[in-house]
């Protein structure tokens, strides 16, 4: 047989996958490893999905998606961030942000074009850039800087081949949000070097300590930005696979071209449900956000009291504590924690080299689960501490 595609062959399987297989087969696991809300989609949205099936909305929609939905998105973005997108030409309904990202990369990149991404970042970014023929250039970000990409360090990574900068704030896996000031500088750098910005803002509603800044709303950004967002996190609709991309007409047109030949359109059912979510789901969103915020406070304090060094995350639903002082690698720590105490977390190195020494803990789970998880982590850390002392011996009286 002839070999498969080289790029795909050379892409390592997701670091999360292996871990998932072990955790999935164990009983009594408390999972902090899930990158999705623990809420079921609000009933009004589900009911609206059922209604649309009953009424026979089972056909294709236009490639760009239901006009009503695009109009509702345009209105919502305007009311939240004063953004202006024409529903006819500047909004495309996608199969989650995942498809939007793939389309944006394929529409923007030529073979060998470089794309700057922060390290650590969401697991899909680097492989998707490579699948689109691009070359990912990782720019480190550090816990000392609350994992905010530094504009100057980013600028130093720019070469003549750089085409775009891919950002995600609030961030998975770190829970970091960006300051408006920093984002302004990033936009200035992008403009100075004529680079595109791809902004994955799927966690926009989950920004707890500062109001979310949407990148295309910044001066000089709109013309060069593809804004990606969706319904998964704010409306707890992960399994519906429904998102959208907004940008200047030529980019959205190019993305639509790929979309029409590969996906045709996003699921009609999901589009109908999303319409209900955006029109009637605001109260649900605000209740969920308030609940995440409470859990965030509780969980971060708990992790610190359990012997982990955890900064206060300001967005998304992740804490990204350091486990460096244990002397274990992220993977060793996460594996041992799973085996000994049955708490599933994701090793930070799954998100890039700068994630090493950290674990990603999702607090999108009940307060009872969080309490139990903190107790188990405390027990685990206490045992680790004792073990290290025994090994070195010197510290014992």
């Amino acid at each position: 047989m002839k070999p498969l595609n080289e790029v795909v062959q050379n892409t390592p399987p997701s670091g999360i996958r292996r871990f998932f297989d072990i955790a999935q087969s164990m009983e009594g696991v408390i999972s902090l490893g899930v990158g999705e809300p623990d809420y079921v989609t609000p009933w009004r949205v589900r009911e609206s999905g059922i209604w649309s099936l009953e009424h026979g909305y089972t056909t294709y929609t236009s490639n760009a998606g239901l006009l009503e939905l695009r109009q509702a998105i345009s209105k919502k973005l305007n009311s939240l961030y004063q953004l202006d997108y024409d529903p006819d030409k500047q909004i495309l309904i996608t199969v989650g942000v995942s498809e939007g990202l793939d389309l944006a990369l394929r529409a923007l990149l030529n073979q060998g074009d470089e794309v700057i991404v922060p390290d650590p970042c969401y697991v899909s970014y680097v492989p998707c850039i490579q699948f689109a023929g691009g070359v990912p250039v990782r720019v480190p970000s550090y816990s000392e800087e609350e994992f905010r990409l530094d504009p100057e360090r980013m600028e130093r990574a720019i070469t003549s081949k750089t085409k775009a900068i891919l950002l995600c704030y609030p961030a998975n896996p770190t829970g970091a949000t960006q300051t408006r000031e920093n984002l302004r500088k990033i936009v200035t750098v992008a403009a100075a070097h004529d680079l595109y910005l791809i902004s994955d803002e799927i966690y926009d509603r989950l920004s707890f300590t500062r109001p979310h800044t949407s990148i295309p709303a910044l001066t000089g950004a709109w013309d060069r930005t593809v804004l990606l967002n969706g319904f998964s996190k704010a409306y707890a609709m992960t399994g519906w696979r429904i998102g959208y991309a907004c940008g200047p007409s030529p980019i959205i047109e190019a993305m639509t071209k790929i979309h029409q030949y590969t996906m045709l359109c996003a699921s009609h059912l999901a589009q109908r449900a999303a319409l209900e979510a955006i029109n009637g789901g605001e109260e649900d969103v605000q209740a969920m956000v308030a609940d995440y915020d409470r859990r965030r406070r509780y969980f971060v304090r708990g992790l610190n009291s359990a012997g982990l060094d955890c900064q206060e995350p300001s967005g998304a639903f992740y804490a990204f504590p350091s486990i460096r002082h244990t002397g274990l690698s992220s993977l060793e720590y996460a594996e041992a924690l799973l085996m000994k105490e049955r708490v599933a977390v994701v090793p930070g190195n799954a998100f890039g080299d700068c994630g090493e020494g950290h674990i990603r803990c999702s607090y999108a789970t009940s307060l009872d689960n969080l309490e139990e998880a903190i107790d188990r982590i405390r027990r685990f850390n206490d045992q680790l501490g004792g073990h290290r002392l025994e090994k070195t011996g010197a510290a014992l009286p």
Partner: protein, 159 residues
């Protein structure tokens, strides 16, 4: 502060220390605020939501639509008070529509409830008529589900 009430309404057993963690407000301020609400009647009392059927107790509830003659000066208040003072009466609401009062009556069995309606409720001077609906199954009561909770289908680890 409203957030504090929401949290207490969800779970009255939360301590000021826990509430401080959840809201980020100082613990002593929370304790003071709760006391103030208790005194001012914003917090009426704390109670437990019990599924008596699961415990094994038979309880019968009936919703009774009551049509009454309002009195000059006090309107419906006096006749409502004559009704709600009976310990058998679980709730009393003044409602719009064909009937005036909606009364929820609780008893050990159907006969007990029927007797109460026939002997006590219907015989009150200002009560014109009653229509009794017995409760057959409780699905959701005061925001609490009395059926099995939905299963969460999430995977253990996801990106």
């Amino acid at each position: 502060m409203r957030d504090l009430l929401v949290l207490l309404e969800q779970d009255a057993r939360r301590t000021p220390a826990q509430l401080a963690e959840l809201t980020g407000l100082p613990e002593n301020q929370i304790a003071e605020q709760i006391q103030e609400w208790e005194k001012g009647g914003v917090i009426r009392r704390y109670k437990t939501v019990v599924d008596w059927e699961r415990y094994g107790d038979e309880k019968v509830f009936a919703f009774i639509d009551v049509s009454v003659t309002p009195e000059r000066g006090t309107g419906f208040d006096d006749v409502a008070a004559r009704i709600y003072r009976f310990p058998e009466v679980h709730s009393v609401y003044l409602v719009s529509g064909a009937q005036d009062l909606r009364v929820v009556v609780q008893g050990r069995n159907m006969k007990e409830v029927a007797n109460f309606v026939a002997e006590k409720l219907a015989t009150i001077e200002l009560v014109n008529s009653t229509t009794t609906h017995f409760l057959l199954k409780k699905y959701k009561d005061d925001g609490d589900l009395f059926t099995e909770a939905e299963v969460n289908h999430r995977l253990v680890i996801a990106p």
